[in-house]
């Protein structure tokens, strides 16, 4: 008889199974109209979060627990900027909320999803990269950049991601080419209160589609910078249009700050920016021009 109790592989396997057992009560399936089955994370006993980018345009959905029981839920709010949709349950679900934890590079993680009947689906991976806070294309600020060495197929995003101890890192999200990202638990906790209260997260809006361009040598010498943002389109009735910005203008400074990385610009269009006056410094047909815009709230999609 061989003693298996000291076999590291079996110990690892037992640890993963135990982490799975403790985390799986927070996994739910979501049945929404006109949508393939989706996965979600029970965040509070009356609240489920899921991936906004795959969630259909719907006001209500059905939450299916791992034991197959279904509960009605109302869409309380959605934020494409952080990829979070919040679903308020009609009746609470008892569950063991995993403790939050910080991710460690190279650490083992488990991602959870649910099939249409609510049965949990598990994947094992490692934390592939860790980075500082970042901005999504939708303008949302995500507290840390966490990527996993996993690919998520349709319906698998939106579930919890836990570490080998079963502690909660955040909600899974499909990034470029299906690569798994994690929306950190701290970001979800920060976004939920305004999301539930108002149904959305307000962000500043200029109403312009911008494109980074290189300035010619003559122009860069004259104004002391080598790049600008070309306005490709302005939204009718938006703040940029109201300020007199037209397509073809090249923005060189916004609010007195020289334009640089798109993520830096996104930072100055947070919720607190709405209503602020902003000085736009731009080049039009070779002439420098200053216009004043008032930042509005980004219209909901």
């Amino acid at each position: 008889m061989v003693d298996h109790s000291k076999d590291p592989l079996l110990q690892l396997s037992a640890a993963l199974a135990s982490a799975t057992a403790s985390a799986q009560s927070s996994v739910v399936a979501i049945r929404a109209p006109r949508s393939p089955p989706l996965s979600g994370t029970l965040w509070r006993n009356n609240l489920v979060v899921a991936s906004e980018q795959v969630f259909p345009r719907a006001d209500a959905a059905e939450i299916v627990q791992t034991d197959g029981a279904a509960i009605r839920a109302r869409v309380a709010g959605r934020d494409p900027g952080t990829n979070i949709v919040a679903l308020q349950l009609e009746s609470p679900i008892e569950f063991d909320r995993p403790e939050p934890a910080d991710p460690a590079l190279g650490a083992l993680v488990l991602t959870f999803a649910a099939d249409a009947r609510g049965a949990p689906l598990v994947r094992l991976g490692i934390v592939r990269s860790l980075g500082p806070a970042w901005h999504s294309r939708g303008g949302g600020r995500i507290d840390r950049r966490i990527t996993l060495d996993l690919h998520l197929s349709g319906g698998e995003e939106g579930g919890p991601v836990v570490d080998a101890a079963g502690a909660l890192l955040g909600m899974s999200t499909a990034g470029p080419r299906g690569r798994a990202l994690v929306i950190p638990a701290s970001t979800v906790d920060r976004i939920l209160p305004p999301l539930i209260q108002t149904g959305r997260v307000a962000r500043g809006w200029l109403g312009a589609a911008l494109y980074p361009v290189a300035l010619s040598d003559a122009v860069s010498q004259q104004i002391g910078q080598d790049r600008g943002l070309m306005v490709l389109r302005v939204a009718d009735g938006g703040p940029a249009a109201a300020a007199g910005v037209i397509a073809g203008d090249i923005l060189v400074a916004i609010g007195g700050t020289v334009v640089g990385r798109p993520s830096r610009i996104a930072q100055s269009f947070g919720p607190e920016s709405i209503g602020q006056q902003l000085e736009l410094s731009l080049l039009r047909a070779g002439t420098r021009l200053t216009l004043n815009a008032t930042i509005a709230a980004r219209p909901s999609r």
Partner: protein
């Protein structure tokens, strides 16, 4: 052909309206009167006229295109869907949550950007020259330069690498 348009974002609405009209189609208000419905984002009622979605999930609608589909692709998909065909893009993955691109790749000049925007709208070099009021020879020069900067192998590749990834709305 009559097309109904569903797009919440004002900039997208303007763009898509221009693409539909550019294809010689009429935009109608009610889905019931439409031959085909173009939806920016999520899918619509499967019982109405055939729908083409941009950037939405595949839930069995007639056409599923990525959010960054070109004008040529959108027009072709609308015609195909109205004719009862099913349209899918090869290798189209599910929606993807992406970062604002702070890429360090070489930036295009304003003129190259205008030429690229014309390519994205499906214009030929000749048509781009007419739009920008420059010679066809100059357009060709800019196209070669922007292909080199972006490492693009085709016009679609240039649009995807050069325009969709860098363009941002604020």
């Amino acid at each position: 052909m009559r097309v109904a348009l569903v797009a919440g974002d004002p900039i997208r609405h303007q763009d898509l309206m221009a693409i539909i009209r550019g294809g010689g189609h009429a935009v109608v208000e009610h889905h019931g009167e439409a031959d085909v419905v173009l939806v920016d984002g999520e899918s619509v009622d499967l019982h109405g006229p055939p729908a083409v979605t941009l950037g939405g999930a595949d839930s069995g609608q007639a056409g599923v295109l990525p959010a960054d589909a070109t004008a040529v692709q959108i027009d072709a998909a609308l015609l195909a869907a109205a004719a009862g065909l099913i349209v899918r893009v090869p290798g189209l993955s599910s929606p993807s949550f992406e970062a604002l691109d702070d890429g360090e790749a070489p930036l295009l000049t304003p003129r190259e950007t205008e030429v690229l925007a014309a390519i994205a709208d499906g214009l030929s070099n000749k048509a781009a020259a007419r739009r920008l009021g420059i010679s066809q020879h100059t357009v060709k020069f800019h196209v070669e330069s922007l292909f080199r900067k972006l490492g693009a192998v085709s016009r679609a590749d240039a649009v995807s690498k050069g325009l969709r990834q860098r363009l941002f709305e604020i």
